[in-house]
Subunit: 451 residues, 2 copies
């Protein structure tokens, strides 16, 4: 019997990140200025982001070295295990082999610190005193607070209000690491005040919180903004996941036929998928499935076009799959997947036909999560449960067809801070949401037409 967990030693941790932009046919359309609509250059981004990160954002180098200082912090939990889900396979009675990359053992409990550590490091190197950011379910804010503590930087987090109240534990995690947390929309920014004037009970959204965090960063010279997903440099930092998984699959003597991850802004999935995607670009046969919520079906029902990253329209316009920046998804428990857009790199790859999308309802995802917890032990985050659901669908397809495929998914985080959501699931208090097409089309109709 082969090992359940395939481990790598610290010395086997990848020394460089993989940059998909080097291998993608064509080029990801550039971001555009929110006012002029002209392509945005590196200089335009400097008030917001650290220079090193802007360089990575536009780099077309295939491999970008990971500084030792970053690797030393990542070594707190990396390399992460690749796990064979023997028990889940058995429960499903499938002939498929199911593996998951377990990103739940970071101090913050998810994949998010992979990029938070890098972003905190580069900002520290550039003499920045404080970082601002937004957070949905709290995974990203917690990751950044942890990372800022490692490098001695202040951390200010705008947390989507519905999650601030639904996920008090992640808020507390940020406090333990010294982070400052503000429920968004807040009175602290112009963006927040505008929204609150229209709707004082607004539950918030990632888009709104981004507007507030960007505004707070622009307001001070010693402060920069960080984003936990969507941007190219975030995807880049996450590729350490897929690069490790590639080594580990070789050790297991196996090779994935289907690669799955949940998508909100796209970073955990890009992290696992991109290093493997280069083999598909080179001709290998593999399927890539991005699993998203039915209540925020960015890739399956949105359009591929230019849109703002935030709600207020402060950020550059990015070409991406989007439901429209005014679309505010229902308050489902997978708060990290409630985002109207999708990483431009991932969207571009999907446009090229390299990646397909699948959308799931939250109740079927909680059912998948319960089965996973009973068989594989760890309790999944509601976000992660979308990847599990997709993996189960694929494994059952294999059972039906008799195809002995290898399925790999990203176990992006644990659900220990989401247990109140499980309580509601068990109490039968969850609802499934699917938007009528006209509501989506109304939000899309408000987008600027570019090209």
């Amino acid at each position: 019997m082969s090992a359940k967990r395939i481990l790598l030693s610290e010395s086997e941790m990848p020394q460089a990140w993989y940059n998909l932009q080097a291998d993608l046919p064509g080029q990801i359309p550039p971001p555009r200025h929110p006012a002029t609509r002209q392509p945005v250059g590196p200089a335009d981004l400097e008030p917001i982001f650290a220079k090193a990160l802007i360089e990575q954002e536009v780099s077309r180098e295939r491999w970008i070295e990971i500084p030792d200082e970053i690797r030393r912090v990542l070594a707190i939990w990396r390399p992460s295990p690749l796990v064979r889900a023997f028990n889940l396979e058995k429960a499903l009675g499938t002939c498929a082999r199911i593996y998951f990359k377990d990103e739940s053992h970071s101090p913050a409990g998810s994949h998010k610190p992979n990029t938070a550590v890098a972003q905190a490091y580069y900002n520290k190197m550039e003499g920045i005193y404080q970082l601002t950011t937004e957070t949905g379910a709290g995974q990203w804010g917690a990751a950044l607070a942890f990372s800022c503590a490692q490098f001695g930087i202040k951390c200010k987090v705008f947390m989507v209000k519905v999650s601030y109240h639904q996920k008090p534990y992640r808020r507390s995690m940020m406090h333990v690491w010294g982070g400052e947390v503000t429920p968004s929309p807040s009175e602290e920014t112009e963006a927040g005040r505008t929204i609150l004037a229209e709707d004082p009970d607004c539950p918030g959204s990632l888009g709104i919180a981004i507007s507030e965090a960007v505004e707070a960063a622009i307001a001070r010279d010693d402060t920069k903004y960080t984003l936990g997903s969507v941007l190219n440099h975030v995807m880049l930092h996450q590729t350490i996941t897929g690069l490790e998984a590639e080594q580990q699959m070789k050790i297991a003597g196996d090779s994935p036929d289907v690669i799955i991850g949940c998508v909100g802004g796209g970073s955990n999935y890009a992290g696992l998928a991109f290093p493997f995607l280069r083999h598909k670009i080179a001709g290998a046969e593999m399927r890539f499935i991005a699993a998203e919520p039915q209540s925020c079906p960015t890739m399956s029902r949105g359009q591929y076009r230019y849109d703002f990253g935030d709600t207020a329209g402060l950020t550059p316009l990015m070409k991406m799959h989007t439901l429209g920046h005014t679309f505010i998804p229902a308050g489902i428990h997978a708060g990290g997947l409630r985002y109207h857009g999708m990483a431009p790199s991932l969207s571009y790859a999907a446009k090229l036909g390299l990646i397909e999308a699948a959308a799931f309802h939250q109740i079927e995802c909680f059912e998948a999560a319960k089965l996973f917890a009973e068989t594989e032990g760890t309790i999944p985050a509601p976000e992660t449960s979308h990847a599990i659901r997709a993996a189960i669908v694929e494994a059952l397809r294999c059972k039906e067809t008799g195809k002995e495929e290898c399925i790999l998914f990203n176990f992006s985080g644990h659900g220990i801070c989401d247990l109140s959501s499980y309580d509601r699931f068990f109490a039968g208090a969850l609802e499934d949401f699917a938007y009528p097409q006209d509501r989506i089309e109304r939000a899309l109709a408000q987008l600027p037409v570019i090209e």
Copy 2:
């Protein structure tokens, strides 16, 4: 620079548990019948425990083989990492080398599944339908619920009422794994009803919950009781921790001078300490420090004498360090350390002078936990923070004396389910409790005199 985490592969997982009883000079005094006061034999325990576990309880074999079925479940998270606390060392400015054995990555988040898996397995093998148990902070109940799910047994947990309300997340974890949870004292048992008749607002204690769980097990033929600490077979199952740590310290090219763990009933500490203790018995120079709360100072202020394991006086009498079975400790946040007694094996070793005790207040422990989280990343359980405090005290002693000692402690669990306790700590709402000696003496005066 040496590696931060020392990992072992699944094939290096220990194949046998280590039984300290084989090497202890003299013999641990036997348990005695609660009514007759006569030594209790294996047959007396059969209504309560699985036969295989009773055999292990009294065995004097040095090595007891771990069945493959148990190792396969443990492989979900074992072998666990041994971690060098470089960042904590640096923050303290100590010349000491600090290592911790990280037991926080089990699905339940603590060391408890090490024995829960074994107990669920042996009961399953003996055809048992349901297991009952008690739980304090919820660590043990969650561990048993997870383990019962792995082997398909029903699990019924009596949870100390104060923790049931303080730790809703651990209660929810048990539900995810299919466990049934009842706040204790409850109306379901005679023991619970008696307590509630006297004090309807009783916050409960481990002792009371044990009474209820034992009563519920005796009431049905297909049901047995399990205990998460105190007993010899529990300590035995936990030794996998120390045996792994021994291999890992060798790989690190180091050897511990001081071995530390927090103690409630004693199991996480025994697990780490006992395999090393055999070297001390054989003449090696090492110090063993059991870290306990000032508000429940079983080893530092209790007496070594026969006492009941529970509050109602249903269990056999055990010779152990105790504050008296009627002693109900204050509702501190380290719920898992609120136990009036201590494992007889650990108590006996302390009586022989092999182990020393140190008691800490909860506020200084939360301060230690915050420093640990900021430096080493992971947020500790309040119980674990006692071990961290003790390790910091030792490291600062080394700093003062210039002695370059090696300190090893057990990181018994994470505090993600205890974040509301951190909230109270940050709000300045925690109190330190230390009992006047006469209150402890009053509880001890009620004990039966045996010998």
